[in-house]
Symmetry: C2
Subunit: 596 residues, 2 copies
């Protein structure tokens, strides 16, 4: 059967990968849906056949969405961007009364913040957050910050695709060079792998979350499941805080080793992860990290921003550089996860770090995949040891966090943009210029030497030394960014990714607040009982404590991280200038010019 | 009478000056020849009328040249570039047997070195200096180094034009901005005023030198005039040297004052020049400096490179900046002239520096203008206290100097090119980037301040301070070139100008050597007597001593100047890096980040 489908986003084929370049709006014929690994085979109107990421194609989505839309009948209109987390967690069994989906009409906007900037009152001005730039920009939704959109999306790997070696990360390895300008050139932001670029993964065609819930599932659930999991929240000095373990979990990602399968036809890289608790290393491939990410997103994404893994296509001109960079970023991701008291304490995270053998790992995986306390139901495990909050206060807090994370996202992006430009200048034109100055001094010096005039060797020696010093300075300038700017960029890049998750997390929160605001109306129309209304208010208070605990966790980490990276950056800058000045002093002392 | 004339070089009109843009090869009609000040009024084929520099128009030249050519009948062909010095000093009364003029056919080449790279043997390879790039490039001859050709030529002001106020330097003032790229963009060299760009002035239409002589006039002169002037050359440690005065003449150019004439309609700037000998200031306008330059060129140009005055169109966005820059360069020019034992001891130079009153000055001027010991006859005043040199040695020395000055010219131009680029980067994109980094830090800091999270003021204070530091660094970076690169550029610019005079000076020398080489042939054809031949050899030896003394003077000055400027440059660079590093240290100390 030839299925026609529309292309949702531009996709540029990578040469030699049997891929097909497609344009947004183009109609293609699906020629093979069972490729796996997040890819399908398609044919364009010119008869060319190749692989396209499933996510970029409308075909299997249209059905679900259209089915969904027929069941939606609400005067309230919430303009939703393609927020993958929300997509997953809106239950199709629980009818989302209050949402109408404009997914493929107006809302392929690229601003994740539009989720909670939308107008909940059906047309009147909302007083929560203004979005003067408009929520729909018509840009590809693949890039939540509108800056990076050329790379592959990370094809979602469901449990069934686990043993499919098609997308082996080793084969996927692509080099894109330093902090080079984004190919899209849209905002000059970086393309260091989409890791931190897209907030959470897009996997529209899988919608695992649709079997679970929107916030209503939790808010209106008659009987909350009574599991073993308990996530207490305390009132600390700074407000609501998670319960932090006495000693912080940490792990070291190291020792990448090349392995192979299928008689050497398929190769991959295995990393060794050693937690400080057991001090016993476990091995994982990139795809296992990806599996972990999916589980954490499913389970905690409603309450905790789970940053994306570093992209498959990390930077690096050479194999070693590529592996080193990926490892560095996997380390960064694991460190962040370890630091989070809820994530690090979860069963799925623990099994990942401490499985004893293959069987243990398989059992753990199966158990994690069957976990039902996912999506908004995570809130059912949260137990704030504090009095219920007034809904007005809940709303105020939410608004505050929304404003802050949006503002910080802007600030971080500004640093990334200017940092990228600085990186380019410091590794390109600037050292080249110092080199040329150095050469020019040396050339003039050797002309002087040829004069035949006696007694100028002191001058020519000094000039040659000055020339060499400038060549040294050139090298120092070119190498400096790796010593300081790199870390500033990595940290901000990580925060860009983290901040990209907040729209989803805060979105769930805001949808719940909206629901509570509607409560009176729902009671009046007998859709819920007055008792339900009370339950909702209590539960939205729990959600607020969760958000506050999470924000406080974010703030304390942010202060730690920025404190560390700013200190490192400035110290290295000072060292640099000191070294340059002492290099020249060295020169002046050693090859002192003839005194005047 | 409507005189038609051909345009020799491209000329771009400056807006608002009633000038007319003309192209090389274009025919124009001369509408007014009595404009004065080196300008004529012309009308192009489109009927547009405007002023064009006389030098750019062929009209009154063609006559003289054609007259000249009818008298020339020699098999020897020396390809001459438009060397103004040589042009002036070929006597039309003494028939220049060995030269045929290709002035307006092939030789409007822009390479001043072509003067002595030409083929003296009438077609066979010359073994003196090779000129692989070819001597005729078809570029405008206005720029001897092929780099600067857009500015006005400095119209020659003969004695008769002295009181013409038309070209008042104040009216002529034009601003062209820092070390901006040359408009012509030909070689990326600088257009800081053509001062050092064109070697010696082009004033084809005046040919005062035609009343004087080529090297033959001196070589074959039956009876050398016996004047009071004596210029001894001694054998010093480094070889032949000028006689240096016990105390070196110096002067200070300062205190520029605006004066006016014609009831304020014409204004000008008068500079105060104070020599260290009298300590009594004299006043001079730019045009007086120009008069002095012309006299020195006439008198010493065969033996001593006389660098051009700073161009009328020096740099400067504002009046003060313009005046300051011109003064600085006039000071540089005067210092160089003072340092030269022959120039500084000359009567014309002394009268310029020490005239007592207007009458004294007028008398001195008249006397200087009547001086007959000009052109190659200056060699008649030179008395080397050393045995005559073998012609082979003379030739070797000449070749050595020619090679050296050409090589140094290349080296200097390289520094100027890279220096100009560095100047642009340091005053443009680089500080802008530091500023943006500073702003980005401060912006993020103020976002952090808005978090509402307690206890982050230490971080935000430190981040704000870091941001401000980067703004300070931006300013330091932008201001640094004025403190160091400026002087490196000025010195090299001055040397570029000086080196541009050598082709003429060495050209005279080489023509003389050629003449001596021909001596046997001339004796054989009875054009000269064997005794004449002996005289020629002796006199060319004197010329060689002169050139050697001049080269030794050049070398010693060069070593002094480069030693000084390189020290200054490096010291300032070190200071800069020290200041930047201590600025950051200051920051770290004062607003120390919270310890980790």
């Amino acid at each position: 059967m030839a299925v026609k489908a529309q292309v949702l986003y531009d996709f540029s084929a990578e040469p030699g990968n049997n891929e097909l370049t497609v344009k947004e709006g183009e109609t293609v014929t699906i020629t093979n849906q069972s490729i796996g690994g997040g890819w399908i085979e398609a044919q364009n109107s010119r008869g060319e056949v190749g692989l396209v990421p499933e996510d970029y194609i409308e075909h299997d989505l249209t059905l679900s969405i259209h089915l969904l839309q027929t069941r939606l009948d609400s005067p309230l209109s919430l303009s939703l961007s393609l927020s993958p987390y929300l997509m997953r967690h809106f239950s199709s069994s629980f009818v989302p009364h209050i949402f109408s989906f404009h997914l493929f009409q107006a809302s392929n906007g690229n601003d994740p913040w539009s989720v909670w900037n939308a107008d909940p009152s059906g047309g009147t001005n909302n007083n929560w957050a203004s979005n003067p730039e408009g929520t729909q920009t018509g840009k590809s939704a693949a890039d939540p910050w509108g800056s990076i959109s050329q790379g592959h999306p990370q094809a979602y790997q469901g449990p069934g695709a686990e043993d499919d070696e098609w997308d082996d990360e080793w084969d996927d390895m692509k080099s894109t060079g330093g902090y080079a300008e984004s190919e899209s050139g849209e905002s000059g932001a970086m393309q260091r792998g989409g890791a931190h670029a897209s907030s959470m993964k897009i996997s529209l065609n899988k919608f695992p979350g649709f079997s679970k819930s929107g916030p209503e599932l939790y808010l209106l659930c008659k009987q909350l499941p009574k599991g073993k999991e308990k996530l207490p929240i305390y009132l600390g000095e700074v407000g609501p805080v998670w319960s932090y373990p006495e000693s912080q979990l940490d792990c070291v990602v190291a020792d990448p080793k090349k392995g192979s399968k299928m008689y050497g036809l398929k190769s991959y890289i295995e990393y060794q992860i050693t937690p400080n608790t057991t001090n016993r290393p476990v091995n994982h491939r990139y795809k296992h990290f990806d599996w972990l990410y999916e589980r954490l997103l499913d389970k905690f994404g409603s309450a905790i921003p789970i940053p994306s893994l570093p992209d498959k296509q990390v930077t690096g001109r050479f194999e070693e550089e590529f592996i080193k960079m990926r490892m560095e970023r996997l380390q960064g991701w694991m460190t962040r996860m370890c630091r989070h008291p809820v994530v690090s304490g979860s069963e799925v995270f623990q099994i990942f770090l401490t499985y004893k053998d293959e069987k243990d790992w398989k059992t753990g995986k199966r158990k994690a995949e069957k976990d039902e306390t996912v999506g908004v139901m995570i809130f059912s495990t949260i137990e704030p040891e504090a009095p219920d909050l007034d809904p007005v206060e809940v709303e105020q807090k939410c608004e505050q966090f929304s404003k802050f994370t949006k503002a910080m996202d802007d600030g971080v992006k500004e640093i990334l943009t200017v940092g990228q430009e600085h990186w380019k200048r410091c590794t390109g034109p600037l050292p080249k210029e110092y080199q040329r100055i150095g050469k020019a001094f040396q050339n003039l010096s050797s002309v002087f030497t040829s004069s035949g005039y006696q007694g100028e060797s002191t001058l020519t020696d000094a000039m040659t030394a000055a020339g060499k010093t400038y060549e040294e300075i050139a090298q120092m300038v070119a190498e400096q960014p790796k010593k300081d700017l790199h870390f500033l960029m990595e940290t901000n890049n990580e925060y860009k990714g983290l901040l990209g998750c907040f729209p989803d997390t805060i979105g769930v929160h805001k949808a719940a607040i909206d629901k509570v605001k509607e409560a009176d109306k729902l009671v009046a129309t007998s859709k819920i009982t007055p008792q339900d209304k009370g339950t909702m208010a209590k539960r939205v208070s729990t959600m607020s404590y969760t958000l506050q605990a999470e924000m406080n966790h974010f703030h304390s980490n942010r202060i730690y991280d920025y404190n560390r990276v700013m200190q490192l950056y400035l110290e290295e800058q000072v060292k640099f200038y000191e070294t340059v000045s002492s290099t020249s002093i060295f020169l002046l002392t050693l090859h002192s010019f003839p005194s005047l």
